[in-house]
């Protein structure tokens, strides 16, 4: 889930920090720059682990600050594709289920990767897993906001977000008093998420934790029902019933 990334950067130390030890000043400067930011194709930066090496500091003409090339290792959040993580449901929309880990929010489980069959309940604004019972009826399992959920990382998407280019030609044409508001609306439409994780829960064992917790307690009563359920699960996986 977390990795160490080795990075190199030129760190500028302003003169007002010359009273500090160089290493401490550099540490602060790196954390100030990277913490809680996404680095393209690296992941979400959390905190500095260690400094590997410091090169000689340079003073540039016209600038009182010192510049030092630093090689360092940074703690980065970047789960491998295939990892199983536990988060909380942030909200549900037609698109799918949005999950948060607290420090990282941009996780989407698209509706195609939910348990099958699932439907979106407009009134409750929640996805519902229609768990089929053996007598043909179904048991609705709601995915409510705030519930802990286990999911598998199926894809990661990095997107270049900066720098923000000049406003588009259309916005420029609508010049006048509305310029600023128009520009504001276009930027809000184009908000990009630099790092997005696509998850999936269409496997047994994944999904809202309480779905699977109660198994142990239930199982005594369900000895007889068991076989039907197994048939169903196998069918879902398209592998036929190997129990028979």
């Amino acid at each position: 889930m977390f990795v160490l990334a080795e990075l190199k950067d030129n760190v500028r130390i302003a003169p007002d920090q010359f009273n500090l030890q160089l290493v401490d000043a550099v540490r602060d400067e790196i954390d100030r720059k990277l913490a809680n930011k996404v680095l393209l194709n690296v992941g979400l930066c959390i905190a500095l682990k260690e400094i590997v090496s410091l090169k000689d500091s340079i003073i540039l003409p016209g600038d009182g600050a010192s510049h030092t090339e630093v090689l360092f290792r940074y703690v980065v959040f970047r789960p491998m594709v295939g990892t199983v993580l536990t988060g909380k449901i942030r909200n549900c929309s037609r698109e799918g289920v949005h999950v948060t880990l607290g420090f990282f929010d941009d996780i989407l489980i698209p509706h195609a990767a939910l348990q099958h069959p699932s439907r979106f309940d407009e009134a409750e604004q929640a996805w519902v897993w229609e768990y089929p019972l053996e007598d043909g009826a179904k048991h609705d399992l709601f995915m409510d906001v705030g519930e802990p959920i286990k999911f598998r990382v199926s894809r990661e998407i990095f997107e270049e977000t900066s720098p923000i280019g000049p406003p588009k030609a259309e916005t420029q044409s609508q010049q006048g008093a509305s310029t600023s508001s128009a520009a504001a609306s276009t930027t809000s439409q184009e908000v990009k998420t630099p790092y997005k994780i696509i998850g999936a829960i269409n496997e047994s064992g994944l999904g809202v934790l309480s779905w699977w917790d109660q198994q142990g307690k239930e199982e005594d009563q369900d000895d007889e029902d068991g076989e039907d359920n197994i048939d169903y699960e196998n069918d879902e996986d398209g592998e036929g019933a190997c129990e028979e």
């Binding site: 080795e6 309480s210 142990g216």
Partner: protein
């Protein structure tokens, strides 16, 4: 900014938690709001996860014990971060492309996670399961029924290795409750 190596090494959740706790304890001055935010939020997540009961030593011993189960290193890392408590759970953390674990192996791994990481009340249950295991098939069934096997895990395992009575007891794909 230059990326030398985006994945220099992997960290367990415990290591990250330790680093963050150290940062949190050394009060920093102004201008570090981002660090403070992410430290706080990540710590909240981690302190709510299984790694809060782990120690360096328990992980080392756990990994040592796991080494006999032909697991790949990323699988071990996942098991450390999220020690499996049921066979269904173990199966999720195992690569689909390789030969699945037998039920016995599955059961042992679960016992190991209990042994190393749940030294409180949970330990009792693990102990019971352990004592029961050598006492023959019947007892073993009892023990396994505590950690339910799911069809996903089951259908991959060779039927020959599975006693019939275990089958009927372990059908735990019970309609989950809300």
């Amino acid at each position: 900014m230059e990326t030398i190596n985006p994945t220099y090494s992997y960290l367990t959740n415990l290591e990250v938690m330790k680093i963050l706790q150290k940062i949190k304890s050394t009060k920093k001055k102004f201008g570090m709001r981002n660090l403070a935010t992410v430290t706080y939020e990540a710590l909240q997540y981690l302190e709510d996860s299984p790694c809060k009961t782990q120690t360096r030593e328990s992980i080392i011993n756990y990994v040592k014990d796991l080494s006999s189960y032909r697991l790949k290193s990323h699988e071990i890392l996942q098991m450390v971060n999220d020690p499996p408590t049921s066979a269904l759970h173990t199966q999720l953390l195992i690569d689909d492309n390789k030969v699945p674990l037998t039920d016995e192996e599955n059961e042992k791994i679960i016992q190991l996670s209990y042994k190393h990481f749940h030294s409180g009340a949970d330990n009792k249950e693990a102990k019971e399961a352990k004592e029961a295991a050598p006492a023959g098939k019947e007892a073993a069934t009892e023990a396994t029924s505590k950690a339910p096997k799911a069809p996903a895990a089951k259908k991959q395992s060779t039927p020959a290795e599975q006693p019939m009575e275990v089958d009927s007891k372990e059908t735990t794909e019970a309609p989950p409750q809300e």
